[in-house]
Symmetry: C2
Subunit: 256 residues, 2 copies
């Protein structure tokens, strides 16, 4: 299950439930829609949403509510993602400049990868990923990398739960996936060939923590089948990821 319940018996719980009712691609939600998604009584939703507006977490428009700029500010202060992003940006830029394909930076959160950054040009392959968005680990190059370097128990937990099929090429057999993970550890890179979206291929490499055994994040390059050959970028992606790894080790700000 992606989003665990969140306590509806507390004000705060209701508030975050409302906030999380927004998905990456809703611009604005009406009160009625909010009620539908959250299951809160209408009067309650109305009041809490109002409170969220006064606290500048929501904006009120004539069409309904939407997540406010204040929330954006707050989110950008999240230390881990932010410092990661700041350290990574130069490497991501390099990578983009040399490939001119879409470049991702992602971290793992449970069964999903969360994209911390996505950069691309006008001609970018349109992929389902979005900055701040999620994708299942098992069908993305970044996800496979992160899974390969994850604690064995987390890895097993994911391998033993059903693997959602996204395209005809999605790997849904745990055994096959496990073999790929072993290969990832060996090569230091992971590939993805139309497993999350048809027409898209991807290559990713890990950003390793100090010891070199755990992955903080992963960097990937994505492109359309045809002009894009993932194998061609092994060295580049690996170099970027390693560069970031050593930089991140020097400025230790991971903890936890």
């Amino acid at each position: 299950m992606p989003h665990q319940p969140a306590d509806l018996d507390t004000v705060l719980g209701k508030a975050v439930t409302i906030l999380r009712a927004f998905t990456v691609d809703d611009q604005v939600l009406s009160l009625a829609e909010l009620v539908r998604r959250t299951g809160l009584p209408k009067a309650t939703a109305h009041r809490v949403a109002g409170d969220l507006v006064t606290n500048r977490l929501l904006d009120r428009t004539n069409l309904g509510y939407r997540l406010s700029g204040g929330l954006f500010e707050l989110g950008m202060r999240a230390s881990v993602e932010r410092s990661l992003l700041e350290l990574a940006m130069p490497f991501l830029q390099d990578l983009y400049e040399r490939t001119h394909e879409t470049v991702h930076l992602g971290v793992r959160e449970g069964h999903d990868v969360v994209y911390v950054a996505k950069i691309g040009g006008h001609r970018q392959a349109k992929s389902p990923s979005r900055a701040g968005g999620r994708m299942p680990v098992h069908c993305t190059a970044i996800g496979k990398v992160l899974l390969a370097y994850a604690d064995p128990e987390a890895q097993q937990e994911i391998l033993s739960s059903p693997l959602e099929r996204r395209t005809p090429h999605t790997i849904v057999a745990p055994g096959l996936l496990e073999r790929q993970l072993a290969a990832v550890l060996e090569n230091g890179v992971a590939f993805e060939r139309e497993e999350s979206a048809v027409g898209l291929q991807c290559i990713a490499a890990p950003v390793l923590a100090e010891g070199g055994d755990k992955a903080l994040a992963a960097i990937s390059v994505t492109g359309p089948v045809g002009r894009f050959r993932p194998e061609a970028h092994v060295t580049l992606v690996r170099a970027a990821a390693q560069g970031l790894s050593s930089l991140a080790s020097r400025r230790r700000s991971l903890s936890n």
Copy 2:
């Protein structure tokens, strides 16, 4: 006043007060520090912070609390900033690639500009700006652009309040600033010469809304005095901003 009070008589108010107690550059705050900054009773802060942790807005570390990845995710869903960012990214990339200097995208929020994106390479001029961070409008190129294209009343409101001095070059005379704003409207670009930080110069252009009279955002290029001459990039910055303007007009998603 930058941060208005936020109601401390409501759970939600306390919660956001705690969240906003984090500034861009604190990684982690202890409970005691939180109490100091928020003015909440210790027991209360402790409880609310705990609730925030259960709701995944804060992380608990052995050193204290920090803003969680869940908050980052949420913030990235803020519709305005996000769609702006996605539309803008290709233009920002172009700009970076042609200048190899730090590129900013910012919007105005009251007396401040909030940076929605900041991209740069390894050799970037280190500026005080940060993605998700704030700077006063009057001492930044982006700010001056946004101010020049703001509603007259908002403009007057800012011009008639004290202008904080950041460097010896910061413009603190309202009259002088006002004359610059007129020039901005005429040229379609604004300059900043060591007014926010010594050794830094900057040039910015507006991303205009459909009518062409209001600015949604602004794009800037920043570099160090010496190798960087703002005038050299007038055409480039203006082109990027105009490109984004017309793209944003086509996909209308501004509203409000």
